[in-house]
Symmetry: C2
Subunit: 124 residues, 2 copies
């Protein structure tokens, strides 16, 4: 059983964190056959933390957790902080496969999404 | 003549700003028929600023500029700061149409990109 964990930075603005939770819900609605669940976690400033989020996935029955960094650039958070938090969780749950997917900004498809987004607005 | 201006936050890390510049170059390679150019600008911490970036688009011959916020959530930067910078530029160049596209995180297509990204990693 595979669960997707979207990891965002976390914000002091409750609405921004709420946006991420809503996004996880929308992903859940589309993830159907591939993921039995989609959850979210935050690096800081919001709950759950990454280790807590991973523990929730496992409590939900995950044998495999895919951590997807919802970040646009490969800064310290993506390069160091998220892997460190994931490593902590992995040490607590050695039987679970926990993998970190490439961060969102690295996805090839983002380019097409951006062009599409720009086109929409220029047709107003 | 339409030019796309990707607006990122800007970072103290030179590599992050370089990633945005590279992204603009990749978009340029794909934007072909729709945009005669793709440039980038930064809200803070890097150059060019948004007004300078818009001025560069116009110097390049743009009669229409589409500003695309490279942001994942609708915080103060997207809601207030970018529109304020664009309004300043618009006042300086009243003959140019300057439109702000919805920020990247709002794009429907981002969901599919995320699922695709997660799938790639879980096939390792």
């Amino acid at each position: 059983m595979k669960v997707l964990l979207v990891v965002a930075h976390g914000s002091r603005r409750a609405e921004s964190n709420e946006e991420v939770r809503k996004l996880a819900g929308q992903l859940q609605a589309r993830a159907g056959a591939t993921y039995s669940g989609v959850r979210c976690a935050f690096l800081e400033l919001a709950e759950p933390s990454i280790p807590d989020g991973i523990a929730q996935c496992i409590a939900q029955g995950a044998s495999e957790v895919i951590v997807l960094p919802y970040f646009l650039s490969a800064g310290r958070h993506v390069a160091t902080d998220i892997p460190a938090e994931v490593a902590k969780a992995q040490a607590n749950f050695p039987a679970t496969s926990i993998q970190i997917a490439p961060y969102l900004g690295k996805a090839e498809g983002v380019l097409d999404v951006m062009l599409h987004q720009a086109d929409l607005s220029s047709r107003d």
